[in-house]
Symmetry: D2
Subunit: 339 residues, 4 copies
Amino acid sequence: MIIVMKAGAAKKDRDEVLKRIRELGYRPHVIHGEIRDVIGAVGDERGKTVLQSIESMHGVENVVPILQPYKLASKEVRKEPSVVRISDEVSIGGDRLIIMAGPCSVESEQQIMESALAVKKAGAHILRGGAFKPRTSPYSFQGLEEDGLKLLAKARDLTGLPVVTEVINPETADLVAEYADILQIGARNSQNFALLKKVGQLKRPVLLKRGMSMTIQEFLMSAEYIMSEGNQSVILCERGIRTFETATRNTLDLSAIPVLKEKTHLPVVIDPSHGTGNHHYVAPMCFAAAAAGADGLIVEVHPDPEHASSDGPQSLKPAKFDRMMEKLKLFAEAAGKTL
Amino acid sequence: MIIVMKAGAAKKDRDEVLKRIRELGYRPHVIHGEIRDVIGAVGDERGKTVLQSIESMHGVENVVPILQPYKLASKEVRKEPSVVRISDEVSIGGDRLIIMAGPCSVESEQQIMESALAVKKAGAHILRGGAFKPRTSPYSFQGLEEDGLKLLAKARDLTGLPVVTEVINPETADLVAEYADILQIGARNSQNFALLKKVGQLKRPVLLKRGMSMTIQEFLMSAEYIMSEGNQSVILCERGIRTFETATRNTLDLSAIPVLKEKTHLPVVIDPSHGTGNHHYVAPMCFAAAAAGADGLIVEVHPDPEHASSDGPQSLKPAKFDRMMEKLKLFAEAAGKTL
Amino acid sequence: MIIVMKAGAAKKDRDEVLKRIRELGYRPHVIHGEIRDVIGAVGDERGKTVLQSIESMHGVENVVPILQPYKLASKEVRKEPSVVRISDEVSIGGDRLIIMAGPCSVESEQQIMESALAVKKAGAHILRGGAFKPRTSPYSFQGLEEDGLKLLAKARDLTGLPVVTEVINPETADLVAEYADILQIGARNSQNFALLKKVGQLKRPVLLKRGMSMTIQEFLMSAEYIMSEGNQSVILCERGIRTFETATRNTLDLSAIPVLKEKTHLPVVIDPSHGTGNHHYVAPMCFAAAAAGADGLIVEVHPDPEHASSDGPQSLKPAKFDRMMEKLKLFAEAAGKTL
Amino acid sequence: MIIVMKAGAAKKDRDEVLKRIRELGYRPHVIHGEIRDVIGAVGDERGKTVLQSIESMHGVENVVPILQPYKLASKEVRKEPSVVRISDEVSIGGDRLIIMAGPCSVESEQQIMESALAVKKAGAHILRGGAFKPRTSPYSFQGLEEDGLKLLAKARDLTGLPVVTEVINPETADLVAEYADILQIGARNSQNFALLKKVGQLKRPVLLKRGMSMTIQEFLMSAEYIMSEGNQSVILCERGIRTFETATRNTLDLSAIPVLKEKTHLPVVIDPSHGTGNHHYVAPMCFAAAAAGADGLIVEVHPDPEHASSDGPQSLKPAKFDRMMEKLKLFAEAAGKTL
């Protein structure tokens, strides 16, 4: 950590800072500048001590952290990419581009079976579908809950596709884990630390969505929460960040792929459906994500988007998904992956 | 709701849209434009039906909602301002500017007693202090939990100040409600709908913080979640939104005060400590919030910020808080309120 | 345009609005809703009249525009994609993915000649290089100005590559147009309307960069400024928008590609160098842009980035650019284009 | 400047960095950390040398600047606040809260005379009004240009109020300076460096508006451009930044007041009309700005906003402006200023 002193700070103030740095277990090094002094504090910044509080001290301009605050998620701990095993057939993070597809919400047996068969036929590897739905409005459809989980399990039996579905609450996490192959943490719960700790204690891979205004660093800190509880099977999912632009529902940050690949060993999945909010833009963003090196995609597919209970405007119809998958193969291959 | 058809959309497409509008229980009105048609759908948009799904239909350009999606929080339901009663002496939303002050975290008996006495002496009406702490890093101090709640209760006994503290989990909400006078929902949990529903079922006023990337409309929808479960005692708290600017920790959106005063009857409190993240900027933002018509302020005060476990850089020392309160009186009076 | 009246607005207020709509040359259509009335105003909203001013009228809640405010840039005027001719060999907007490459600034004869030969050898079609440099600091290198233009012309003579360079001022625009094949308008000048009008009067294609906080709609309005002066040869360039994320210099908005392809006939070029600000992230973003359907890329290449006068950290070395071009071919082909 | 080396960077890489630091005229100091080395480079970072380019070197993780890049605008050069003289009666930056008011655009003689008399009567000190208008659409009213300037001069003769009006182009800057008492640089031209240099050479105070996505640091760098050309009479104007929130036209960043007061000696003016875009929110934001310590306000006032050529929805009618001024006195006094 670097402590920048104010221009013309008194020697007394500097000595107090040096004393406090030592108290906290770091070794201070002073660099005398032309206008101000700068103090380097050497030691592992990721302990429980609170170097940031030095910013309150007299004569201090600001405190600049040097180390990344995450450990388990970082490349320092593990250099080679993590491969998260989902089932005997499916792993995320290796040479295959993994496709998760299905409706936003499970609405009925017919709807989810039809969806599951359609995405399986088009070549998807994992079925997505929401049973517990976090909705902005209390008056919107909140999901079929346990009945939805049962239907997802039935669709898995029918198709052999593993199932990813959202957990919205520590209290119902065990229930969801009974049925699901992957536990999804939604964007709005990405800093619900009680929930992160809970899924960190379960034996199921976790698909962690990036929050709408979450920096990459905070994203990795949320992964660290799950990992520090013992669950190392974390899959990161970029799903669009909130910006001033309104032509798309969110702004899909595809540069997060190379940034994350540089900073972490965890696999990276992209969600162009929420990222754009418009089914017209989903296919090009799938191609772009594959080209940029994503390990997987999660795509909303609905047999009848005009009558969907949620997210109709961003859902692909099966025929369109099928055509997209055909073209996607070419981009996956160019990126050195197979579908 | 207004459905904008594409330029040159086929009559067949328009007829399908009209049919679907009627199916959903609305009455359609077509306006024939020079380049495109526009269809008004008359009816209450806030039901469980899903007019938005029409955006997926052929020939539809986009769908523009007209009504606000909240009811209980809106001025349509209640025109006069709500006054939320906290204790025999303290209510929020009336003629007094209510000040909540205290440390970010409860750290020790001495620290919280000292803080409580100091803020009481300076004229604060409510004591703040965190027992369960939502921290970005799993390695940071997570709060004293129930021990912290007990210390807050003890500080209330000592000073007579009601206590506001954060709830981070449905599972521990009842416990917190045993000790606290106001339940705080933090910015990172502002769309944790399971938690919102839970505090909506409790008999305690709720201080709901705005999420970092939450629009005003989403903010009111989160209030609506709490209110729709039966708890009408909701206090809204603006605490800074996330923007590109890095000179402050967040960007405190003071225009939220007049916007909220126009749209809702609920009281509005401002948090300049998190809003700016820097104790130098807290006092001017307190004055500005009072001038803009806030019903209350929540301010971090710590007897020893250099040694604080969290949020030291944005905490005021008691002497500075005292001076701030002196000046604040003038602005409260100019705004027609008393401290 | 749709005028939304307030709930319970007086009939008198509505009649005033209807009168004003007619005065402005539109035909009003009232839709009586359950809670409020909504008025459609039929007529071409893109005239000089000021329907927005109705928002100031008594009883009006808000005014929602329906039509896009641009004409010449829109698909309504021209359905097929525009192909912008640069030279006998090079056009942008057709079946080839066009690569513009070169240093941020022209620094010396040796540097620009070396760069030009390197990018030519790697397969680039156009040479980029700044002679007039808009720099955030008045103390930074401001470019070689006319000497830089002369060196660019010399590099064109040497390699046959057409040249794109920035115009920062109406006063020097004619001078730049004497030397350059494409006039670049930088992000910071994207709403410098005096400059847009000026290049609209010149006979040179314009590469218009999107401003850092410009919506897609505003971007097309700036194109419209150029086109409305008579110059239809506009190439749009997405170069990253400003968001809260700091891991990259800007957030490259690749979804702008399908959005622009839906709304305009103009070609779209992507700038991953400014978009990410980090040479490690440039290649993956080039691949992603090609996959998403971009018509071209503009990439910073410098023979010696460690000694560059500007933008060193985001410049590729020639060898790395060469390897990137090799791989790019595969993605261009998958997207149905040739390099 | 601090150079952070990668974890495990080779000694050879570090030596290259040290050599380069010395070449650039700085003295390097190495701090050996537990995981990585950090190098302090001592010397004035604000020269023309390009320390940032070190980020391209092998083994370098990133480069962190320590000094602010502005000089003339900083408190290091001048500790006491600058007072910018406008006329014999009016100065900005002293004990008076200066009010600039008037219409967005000069539309006609009657309109500007009526506006000028109204704002004078209500107590404003300076008349605002646009003659050259930067408009997002080429089809919108572009201002009366020189005729508008003449009308402004006439209004000044009538009322004695100095006049502030916008300059949009280096070519017409001299013309504007003949008529205006203060030259306004609009938000969209805030990084039009050619224009900044031009007004830096003129002998007129400059009101510099903050760009929509400009950081405080970039804002001060644009002031530095003007000052480095010789014109020290710069007034900074916060007018709202662009964020995700759509309930207001922009997000007025009032915390910019204490931040700027800490970093610069230049006076700070607030524009709540553009900041909120809604006349209902203007008065509370005026009060808040005064409370936070602003040196002045600039407010749009129009005798007939329903018929205004631009910005009707955010303009106050004279009677409302009058009432606002009455209340504003109380807040100015509480802040230790007079109106």
